[in-house]
Symmetry: C2
């Protein structure tokens, strides 16, 4: 069990913490956890990363059912972690609460939007932590902070009592330092898999080419170990239209939902936003309906394509992020370039609602990069079991 009160990396939201003890017995007894501050915990304010949100929404009268499930399974809740404001950003920056330190690379961003949960797990402050992932908000900070992370099948885990960003993309994901812990949490919150049997292994050429050469090299050993488990990888291309096109469609369709979901509060409360977040919501508000419709239409086509490719049990493998975390202090323009290269890859699972598990299998210039395993919807438990096997095969677990 991890130490509960230390916060050397600034992972938790400022202010006093109110831990909640888990049930005295259960499959997660002995584990501590934290939750991104967009999950309600009864009697506490949910800030969603923004002080004005917290002020205007006040104290939560009930606990999100997914958090209740974890408590009833015996895990102890330590506190609530920082998030990018309204979960709308990938670097992990939060100008109001302070950006958490990336424990695995202190001169770099932690990644976001679930920055505090990734940092808390990476620093060993908790055994696991809940995040949420709409466009990469679990996968990217997991890759950047060198921990395991999962974005489950869309809809597989209950999001009642959690703040929404884009409901048809939002998922409840989580982080752990050990693959086995990642899987044990899944045993509590995930439905049973609908189909069984994973394989063949597909190496997604588009995403490997999109990655920095150093990242691809760093993950070569992980891929080889995966081939030892699933057989030699077949090479596939998933986006002949280009990953940039995937990102563009994702951005347009998801922006429409972000504004439909959060626009009312933004217009009425007129909240102060930090840099980047403000611009993204302004762009969401101004989104051209024709572009959003094209994004929705593309999403249907792409979802059909991925289900056909993966329906028999195939597993995709590719670098979670094209590069290690960007250095602190880079320009907003450089951040946007990273965002674009990154979200072309995260849009694969994001658009199609696929489960994705990232494993901390490489380092570039001393900073972590993750290898992702992706499967058809509903194969989350098998994917977690495969991650446990792979971690063991490379000597991680």
């Amino acid at each position: 069990m991890a130490a509960a009160l230390d916060d050397s990396v600034g992972a938790f939201i400022p202010g006093p913490r109110t831990p909640v003890a888990g049930a005295p017995a259960g499959p997660l007894r002995g584990l501590t956890f934290a939750v991104k501050d967009l999950y309600d915990v009864a009697g506490q304010v949910t800030t969603y990363g923004n002080p004005d949100w917290g002020r205007s929404h006040g104290v939560a009268p009930a606990t999100a059912p997914v958090v209740t499930s974890l408590l009833q399974a015996g895990a102890d809740l330590v506190g609530k972690t920082k998030t990018v404001e309204l979960a709308y950003g990938l670097t992990g920056e939060n100008v109001w609460h302070g950006t958490p330190i990336n424990p695995a690379a202190p001169d770099r961003f932690p990644g976001g939007s679930s920055c505090g949960s990734a940092a808390a797990v990476s620093a060993g402050l908790v055994d696991f932590a809940l995040g949420s992932d709409t466009g990469g908000s679990v996968r990217i900070p997991a890759s950047y902070c060198g921990v395991f992370g999962i974005r489950p099948t869309w809809g597989a885990v209950n999001l009642a009592g959690a703040c929404a960003l884009g409901p048809s993309y939002d998922t409840c994901g989580w982080f752990a330092r050990e693959a086995a812990v990642l899987a044990r949490v899944g045993d509590v919150v995930l439905p049973l898999d609908a189909d069984t049997g994973l394989g063949p292994l597909l190496k997604v050429e588009d995403a490997w080419i999109n990655a920095d050469p150093g990242t691809a090299r760093a993950l070569g050993g992980g891929l080889a170990a995966l081939e030892g488990l699933l057989g030699r990888a077949l090479t596939v291309e998933v986006a002949p239209e280009g990953l940039a096109t995937l990102y563009e469609h994702f951005r347009c369709a998801q922006s429409e939902e972000a504004w439909a979901t959060l626009g009312r509060w933004i217009e009425q409360a007129g909240p102060a936003f930090g840099p980047g977040v403000k611009e993204r919501f302004a762009a969401a508000k101004a989104m051209d309906p024709g572009k959003a419709a094209a994004g929705r239409a593309f999403r249907r086509v792409f979802t059909g394509r991925m289900r056909a490719l993966l329906g028999g049990g195939a597993v995709l493998a590719y670098p979670t992020s094209p590069a290690a975390a960007p250095k602190l202090g880079i320009s907003l323009e450089a951040q946007n370039a990273v965002r674009e290269a990154t979200m072309g890859v995260t849009a694969i699972a994001g658009l199609a609602g696929l489960p994705e598990v990232t494993l901390p299998l490489g380092k570039v210039d001393g900073a972590p990069v993750g290898l992702s395993l992706v499967a058809a919807p509903g194969r989350d438990r098998q994917l977690l079991a495969l991650a446990v096997q792979l971690a063991r095969a490379v000597g991680l677990a």
Copy 2:
């Protein structure tokens, strides 16, 4: 095209209407529709059936993507329809906006919570209408008002920009007078089916026994016609623990979500509620966490059971509601008894996230009752095609 401005049955929310013209071309061109007043339409207040909700939430800055999809497909939006307050009730009563008249049985309740949408379609005021269905809120008013209705696979249709009640149960459904129109709307808003091939037909004995003898008799012809399409029905039992147990687990688990979703607003705004609604939210607030946990656990078991039963393509058939709509003016106690008998049946698809289509195939004492077709998740389009075939077979379409 239906007449747009008449509201002889009180289906629309009070006040001036702001129609929105659809695109000049598209697969739904020439059709008019209405939406339950829990879908946002830009520039309009969404009341969620409760004046205090409308006052405290104000004007919507964006239109729900599902409504935008229908407009872009060419359908003309006529207006917004009444809903039970916060969608939390099955009779269709709304003391603030007035309860819509059931056009098919004016001395009876229209059913809810999507009461206005069912009444508007039944009265011929629009060609189709969006509702939402958490625990029966499309299926029951469709059965009571003698129209076609669908509750799609959970998660299949985008709920961004729609008010939530129980996110892991909520679905966007719709009504039409013709099976073909019901299916055409599905072609616009539903993803492609994941698997194809329906059959065998399973007659759900639990639900037929639960129905009033008159209802079962009235739907016998519909079932026979269905056997003409799918072959002789096999008899199955889906709930050996009893439909009352299904309802009890549904109620406990869904109440937890209702309070986690709406409790904050209710506590802070202190809204006035009509009879029944107030008591249901009070019960949700007081829900025992152990009972909610048991409900969640049962849901997992039941979902696995139904997926195994239906995964090969089987279709369930049973009476949508155990009886025709209750008469206006019956006591709250009698309403609760109807609710319990009804929700044991609606919980089948509700708990397991299954698609359900109801067809107006019978009458009891002159009032409509519906026959339901239910399949595995992701078979919505085939189910709609089967409904078109069945409607044709009985001379309805």
